[in-house]
């Protein structure tokens, strides 16, 4: 049977890995290529890189990082952050990423999903969604709204409707980030995750809130997620990927145990 995937996430700014809480107060935590190699050896099933470089001029640094990562690890990895058009997608994929993740650009122009899927294949196109709980309303029937700019800008789009639409447009996977849970280490947003996962046929990666292995167990079972993103809980050495997998295995969750 298919294993649930455990995916460390690295935020990269100007070629260095950083970590902040709710997209703020970022601190330097290491070289992304070295960290990728470490997680590859430690049993990560996949990696996600977000380029949070603010200045567009310095974005080529990320392409170099992607190229070095691709020469170093032999598991899939995706790259997101600041992908604006098909050319940005092509640069990242040619540098060696398996998948490319679009977020704000797709909210502003959903056709970037269909264009990307047509040229590179759906399996390459991940829709990143940043979501906040706002309560149910006529405009937002699911109670979850799409936000951009690190949660600062509300887009008036219902998260569930957006997920279904993105799948139709050709997204191959959804990386679902709860802005409310992000960086808190209090657990994933289970209700949001199961809502989206049960209503699309493509895999859903849960993101935001992982603090201990029990949180992964919850989101991979009750939350119906196909994969779980982790950051702080492994970046600071609190847990290893292997410890998390041993725990999940003991709870009956199918994980990859040999690497």
């Amino acid at each position: 049977m298919l294993s649930k995937r455990i995916i460390p996430c690295l935020d990269v700014r100007e070629g260095r890995t950083t970590k902040g809480i709710r997209f703020e107060n970022n601190v330097d935590i290491g070289n992304p290529v070295e960290m990728a190699s470490f997680y590859y050896e430690a049993g990560a099933d996949e990696l996600v890189f977000y380029d949070i470089t603010a200045s567009h001029e310095k974005r080529n640094i990320m392409i170099d990082v992607v190229r070095h990562v691709a020469e170093t690890i032999f598991i899939p990895f995706s790259v997101g952050g600041g992908i604006r058009d098909v050319d940005d997608m092509r640069n990242v994929l040619l540098a060696g990423a398996e998948k490319v993740s679009v977020n704000s650009a797709a909210v502003k122009d959903p056709e970037i999903i269909s264009k990307g899927a047509e040229i590179f294949g759906s399996q390459c196109i991940v829709l990143g969604m940043d979501v906040k709980h706002v309560g149910e309303s006529v405009k937002i029937p699911s109670g979850y709204e799409i936000v951009i700019n690190g949660g600062r800008k509300y887009m008036g789009i219902d998260a569930l409707k957006w997920a279904v639409k993105a799948q139709k447009l050709g997204a191959g996977e959804i990386c679902l980030n709860s802005i409310d849970a992000d960086g808190t280490q209090d657990g994933y947003e289970l209700k949001l995750t199961s809502l989206i996962s049960e209503n699309v046929s493509i895999p859903v990666i849960a993101s935001g809130g992982a603090g201990k292995p029990e949180h992964l167990y919850e989101v991979l079972t009750k939350g119906k997620a196909d994969a779980a993103l982790i950051a702080s809980m492994v970046h600071y050495g609190t847990y290893t990927v292997s410890e998390i997998k041993t725990y999940l295995d003991s709870c009956g969750v199918k994980v990859r145990k040999s690497w």
């Binding site: 049977m1 298919l2 294993s3 649930k4 995937r5 590859y40 099933d45 691709a70 020469e71 032999f74 598991i75 899939p76 994929l93 040619l94 060696g96 398996e98 590179f120 294949g121 759906s122 399996q123 191959g172 996977e173 046929s201 493509i202 895999p203 196909d226 994969a227 990859r256 145990k257 040999s258 690497w259």
Partner: protein, 209 residues
């Protein structure tokens, strides 16, 4: 020299990087002379069967690959490459190379796991191998080894002798196929960590015959 067949079917650089990392010389090419003079062939591919077959024919590579197989040259198919060597694909209703008899089928839309939960399509992620036949390229596998898959269709050889390994995803499907000098995997060895690299290395050193 190992020829990695380039037929506009996805980004082949990851296969090239993995083979180079293992210390073997390879070239990504659609040049018929280069392919004919190569020591062995890797036939990868990501995308749809219809477009892939059209590209192969346009580049004149369909007959080159069939001839290489007849000549006994070791060939490794990967993902779409594995489906293309079959007789026919349900994807885009595409007649394929017919190196192995049998159809490429779509996963049924309503497949469920043993516990009754709905399974998503495509089959994406890490999964294991079962019913593994003895083969030099598969010789270093450990019991719990898993491989990275991304696909909505799977090869279904008519002759069970052509099935070298199976994988369970609601149904049991052929995930490694082959005969004589051909071996082909539905998963991506170049993206499957240690066991994938070990399989690739074994292929690069495989002396068939």
């Amino acid at each position: 020299m190992i020829a990695i067949i380039d037929y506009d079917a996805g980004n082949l650089a990851s296969v090239e990087r993995a083979v180079s990392y293992l210390g073997f010389k390879c070239i990504v090419t659609n040049n018929i002379k280069t392919i004919n003079s190569s020591e062995r062939i890797i036939f990868p591919g990501v995308g749809a069967a219809g477009a892939a077959m059209n590209s192969l024919k346009r580049l004149g590579l369909d007959s080159v690959i069939k001839q290489a197989v007849i000549n006994g040259k070791p060939m490794l198919g990967i993902c779409l490459g594995t489906q293309i060597i079959m007789e026919y694909s349900e994807e885009n209703e595409t007649p394929c190379l017919k190196i192995i008899d049998g159809f490429v089928k779509a996963f049924p839309p309503d497949i469920k796991s043993k516990d009754g939960s709905r399974l998503k399509i495509p089959h994406m992620g890490w999964n294991g191998l079962e019913n593994i036949k003895k083969h030099p390229v598969l010789s270093d596998l450990h019991e719990d080894d898993e491989f990275y898959f991304v696909h909505g269709y799977y090869p279904n050889p008519n002759d069970s002798e052509h099935i070298l390994g199976t994988t369970d995803y609601g149904i049991s499907f052929a995930s490694v196929i082959g005969f004589n000098n051909i071996i082909a995997t539905q998963f991506h060895p170049e993206k499957s960590g240690r066991p994938g690299l070990s399989l690739l290395k074994n292929f690069c050193m495989w002396n068939y015959g």
